[in-house]
Amino acid sequence: MTAPQVEVLLQTILSGLLLGGLYALIGIGMTLIMGVMKIINLAHGELMMVGMYIAYVLFSVFHIDPYLSIFIAAPALFLLGILLQKYLINPVLKVDAIIPENQVILTVGIGMVLSNIATIIFSSDYKTTPVDYATKAWYLSDIWKASPIELSLSLPWSVSFSFALMITGALWFFLTKTDMGKSIRATAQDKDAALLMGVNVERMRVVTFGLGSALVGSAGCLFIPIYYLYPDLGGQFTLTAFVITILGGLGSTVGAIVGGLILGVFESLTSTYAGMGWAPVGRFVIFLAALIFVPQGIMSLFTRKRFGK
């Protein structure tokens, strides 16, 4: 490989990692909901789209920076998630039906309504938040003058990535150190045992759905400075989140982070070497490979080693 080729490869991997950090945040929200409630939330990407539109409105009307709008979008999404769970998903979980996948279809319905309402309010035009630092970047040659290769790091991408890291860290703290976080994890492990230990399972489910929505909503705020926005964008991110969840193992938070990073890098590689249009195919190649070779998720490879099986 010649120097320019190495440069392209490293640059691709770098941007893949940055993208993967954001993907991880989306995936964690989904895996959390899946672990605790045992349902797949197919409105996940649409919730992210709602978060993005909140950030967009705040930016274009009040000129609030998209990164600051996390503090408004996340609580708003938390509330939306709670309402959806309480008044739509919970009643369905109690209904007796022939098809057990009713709640999945329900979330599809919710997603359809959300994206259609967004189309009506905002029209299907592509929207962006033109922040003035959008094109700023750091270059390797600024720091290391004699560097043989040139790498660049986009400012909004790296800020988004660090925010994603911070949110993930905060979530980790919440889940492992606080009482409520522990109750949520207990519910995920064994609902009935948790109930016997005095955990309010019903409430934990509502909180989890809210939390998952808030996470994906803040991911939306992190995405909007570097991405564009249109009402139907949700579907592709729902799929991304699902692929990450399968890749990382169902209900595993660490798995979601690893899965997100792998997916980000792989997608970045396919779009560099096979063409932009093929990037979604790359995503699903990973998905199928995961299903066939590591159906328990990527983390199962490590646990097996740890127990010496």
Partner: protein
């Protein structure tokens, strides 16, 4: 009465073009029949066998593209896609089944959903074969008049109806229902669940593929975003069955009538036209919460409801 009802309804449908309906109404009827074929196919897999597929657009699209590519590359009539699609779609179904049927419940649903998207993106990018986003145009229409199209789709619908009925009333049908009710129990009773699920998937896929071939011939234009559409094909398929009645013979027809008419009515109202997905979504939510087995499936419940209304 019960035995002759299918023949009776088929007879009425066959006589409909004779009363001189306008071209628009013929179009609506054709759409209703096409959707009921897809619905019946989905019902076989989702309703009876319990494997909820979110990716029936994959089979619809493969069928449509079999006909389209055949026409585009060799120049023979796209109707030859009918026999050819049976083989092609069955092969695709076996492949998709091999990958997705190792998944259970909701994960199967998402696996199939992903398959639909994979095929769409592939069709968009393999421009040498599929013409990509340009789509394939059938340049000479077989008939200007819609009557023959109507009879062809009616024939497909009748055949599908009887295939589904025969399968469900045979031993296979009992295996399917056993798998739906409890897969592990079925397995322990000696039913090779993967084998029977593959049969259900392949049959369902082939019927859906035929509807796809018909679509290519009837509409005369296909592109990946239309025939592999997630919302407008896969989800609408599920809605047709959910609204009409899961695991019932007549559910898909009832659902197709309601969905097609609803779509037409909403689209014709000015300003509300853009909101038709909202209406679909709300309808879906309402149906799932209040009539989880669809209109045909929950008919006794509906009757009771209205009976009570009269008494009060």
């Amino acid at each position: 009465m019960k035995k002759t009802l299918p023949l009776f309804i088929a007879g009425i449908l066959a006589l409909l073009p004779l009363i001189g309906l306008s071209s628009y109404w013929m179009h609506i009827l054709i759409l209703v029949l096409m959707w009921s074929v897809i619905g019946m196919a989905w019902n076989l897999l989702g309703g009876y066998c319990g494997q909820v597929s979110f990716g029936h657009a994959a089979f619809f699209g493969v069928g449509a593209y079999t006909a389209g590519i055949l026409y585009n590359k060799t120049g023979v009539s796209a109707w030859w896609g009918m026999p050819l699609s049976v083989i092609v779609v069955a092969l695709f179904a076996l492949l998709i089944g091999y990958i997705c049927l190792r998944l259970k419940g909701p994960f199967f649903a998402l696996g199939t959903l992903a398959m639909g998207v994979i095929l769409r993106v592939t069709a968009e990018n393999l421009t040498t074969i599929t013409e990509g986003d340009l789509g394939i145009m059938i340049r000479e229409r077989t008939w200007i008049d819609k009557t023959w199209y109507f009879y062809i789709i009616l024939l497909i619908a009748i055949v599908s109806f009887f295939i589904v009925k025969k399968v469900i009333e045979s031993k296979l049908g009992y295996y399917f229902v056993a798998i739906r009710e409890d897969q592990d129990a079925a397995e322990s009773l000696g039913i090779n669940t993967t084998f029977y699920k593959t049969i259900a998937l392949t049959l369902s896929a082939v019927l859906t593929g035929l509807a796809g071939v018909f679509y290519t011939n009837y509409m005369g234009y296909i592109d990946p975003k239309i025939v592999f559409a997630l919302h407008d094909i896969s989800i609408v398929t599920i809605m047709v069955v959910m609204v009409g009645g899961v695991a019932t013979y007549w559910g898909p027809l009832v659902g197709a009538i309601i969905m097609v008419f609803l779509a037409e009515i909403i689209r014709s109202i000015p300003k509300l036209g853009a909101a038709h997905h909202t209406f679909f979504g709300v309808l879906l939510i309402v149906i799932i919460i209040y009539l989880p087995n669809g209109i045909t499936g929950d008919l006794p419940k509906l009757k009771r409801l209205f009976g009570k209304g009269k008494a009060a």
